[in-house]
C-alpha cells in the first residue's frame, strides 16, 4: 500500500522523522510504537497526506505521490486519520458521521443507511440525533471512529485511539479495529501499550528518535 524511501521531516533544525525504508502492506494491521517524540504522529500525518515530508519519496498503491494540491486531495480521500482526541463538529452525531459522505456526494437514503450502519458498529445508533458536543469522551471517540469507518477508506490511521477512554469502550474499539483488515482495510495504529501488538495480531513498527528501528512482519 505504502512504500517510503528516505523520508525526512524537519521542523527548523530538528529532525522529527528520518526513515530510510518502510513498507506498509495492503489489508494488514500495524501497531506503531515508540516513546513520546519518537515521530509517530509525524509519520501518521505524512501517511494521511496532511503534511509533506521535507525530503524523500512515498509510493502509494505503487504510484509515486506528487504533493501538488490536486493529487494530494485525491490521495486524502483514500485515507482517514483519527486523532487521539478527535474534533467533533458542531451539530448532531449524524451530521458528524455524514460529513465525509457529503464531501463525497453521498446524500439522502444511502447516506442515512451508511451513517446508521457505522453508528451501529460502535454501539451508538440511539445517539444519532444527539448533539455531538454533549457526548462524553468515550462516546465522542466512538463517534469519531464511526465517522472514519463510514467512509470505508483504503487506509485507516489511528493515533492512540484506545488512550484516555474507559475499558468498555476500549474493548469495543479494539474489536472493531481488529476486524478491519479482514474487510480489506489497512490499519496503522499508534500505541504505548506493548500488549496491543499481540492482542490485535498486528505487525509492529518501532520508532526511536524519529528513526525506524524495527519492522517485523508476521
Amino acid at each position: 500500500m505504502y512504500r517510503l524511501q528516505s523520508i525526512r521531516k524537519c521542523y527548523g533544525s530538528t529532525v522529527a522523522l528520518d526513515i530510510e525504508e518502510l513498507t506498509i502492506a495492503e489489508g494488514r494491521l500495524y501497531t506503531l510504537a515508540g516513546a513520546n517524540g519518537a515521530g509517530k504522529s509525524t509519520l501518521l500525518s505524512i501517511l494521511a497526506f496532511l503534511t509533506p515530508p521535507t525530503s524523500g519519496v512515498i509510493f502509494y498503491g505503487g504510484k509515486r505521490v506528487d504533493w501538488n494540491r490536486g493529487s494530494v486531495e485525491e490521495y486524502r480521500r483514500k485515507v482517514t486519520l483519527l486523532h487521539q482526541s478527535p474534533y467533533l463538529f458542531g451539530g448532531s452525531v449524524h451530521d458528524n458521521v455524514a460529513f465525509g459522505l457529503k464531501v463525497r456526494g453521498i446524500r439522502g437514503e444511502e447516506q442515512r443507511r451508511i451513517v446508521d450502519r457505522a453508528l451501529d458498529g460502535v454501539g451508538l445508533q440511539r445517539f444519532r440525533d444527539r448533539k455531538a458536543r454533549e457526548l462524553s469522551g468515550g462516546e465522542a471517540q466512538r463517534v469519531a471512529m464511526a465517522r472514519a469507518l463510514a467512509l470505508k477508506t483504503e487506509v485507516l490511521l489511528l493515533d492512540e485511539p484506545l488512550a484516555n477512554i474507559d475499558r468498555e469502550t476500549a474493548c469495543l474499539l479494539e474489536t472493531v479495529i481488529a476486524s478491519l483488515p479482514a474487510q480489506g482495510t489497512t490499519v496503522v495504529m499508534t500505541t504505548h501499550d506493548p500488549d496491543h501488538a499481540g492482542r490485535l495480531n498486528s505487525d509492529p513498527i518501532f520508532l526511536e528518535g524519529g528513526r525506524h528501528v524495527l519492522q517485523s512482519l508476521r
Binding site: R76, H83, V103
Partner: protein
Amino acid sequence: MDFLFSSFASALRLIGSLSPDVFDAVRTSLSVSAGATVFAALLGIPLGLLVGLSDFPLKRLVVTALNTLMAVPTVVVGLLVYGFLSRQGPLGVLGLLFTPTAIVIGGTLLAAPIVANYSLASVRGADPRIVPTALTLGAGRLRAVATLIGEIRYGILAAVIAGFGRVVSEVGVAMMLGGNIRGYTRTMTTAIALETSKGEFAFGMALGIVLMMVALLVNLFLNLLQQR
C-alpha cells in the same frame, strides 16, 4: 434629581407618543448603521479570515495596522471622507456629502477594522484540529475553510455586531458627513448632541433610551444565537 426624573418621564412620553422626530432619527440611525455594517462585513470578514488563515512576510505589520485602525477617532474618519466627498475633493462631483450614503461610507470605514480584527481573533481562537479533521475526512482546502467558518460562526457574528455597535453609537462621522439634517441625515446620536445643546434634555434622553434598547436587543439576539 427632580430634573432627571421629570426628564425621564418626558422622555418616556415622547417615545410612547411616537414623536415623528424621534422616529425619523431612529429610522435614519438604524438604516445607515445597517448599511455600513453590511459593507463592513463584506470587507472585514474576508480580510480577517485571509490574514488569520495565511502566512505572509508582513503579517505582523498588517495585524498591527488593523489594531491601530480600530482606535482611529471617528472625527478623523469623518475628516478624511469629508476631504474626498467635499465639493473640492476628488469625489465631490458625486454630490454625496451630507447624504445618508456619506454616513454609510464613513461608517463602513469605522466598522470594517473592527469586523476584521474580531474575525481574525475568531480564526486564531479556533480549535486547530478543525481544518485537519475536515481534510482527513476528504474535504478540499476550500471546503475545509468553509467548515472552519461554520465552526466559528458565532465569533464572526459577534464581529458583525461589534461593528454595528461602533457605527450606531458614533457621532463624529454622522455629524461631519451627514450634516445633521432633520428628517434626512439626523441620527439618534447627532440628535442627542444637538437637542441637549439646545436645552431639550428630555428629547435627548428619549433617544438615549432608544439607543440603549437597540444595544440591548442586539445583544439579546446574539446571546440567543449562542445558546442554540
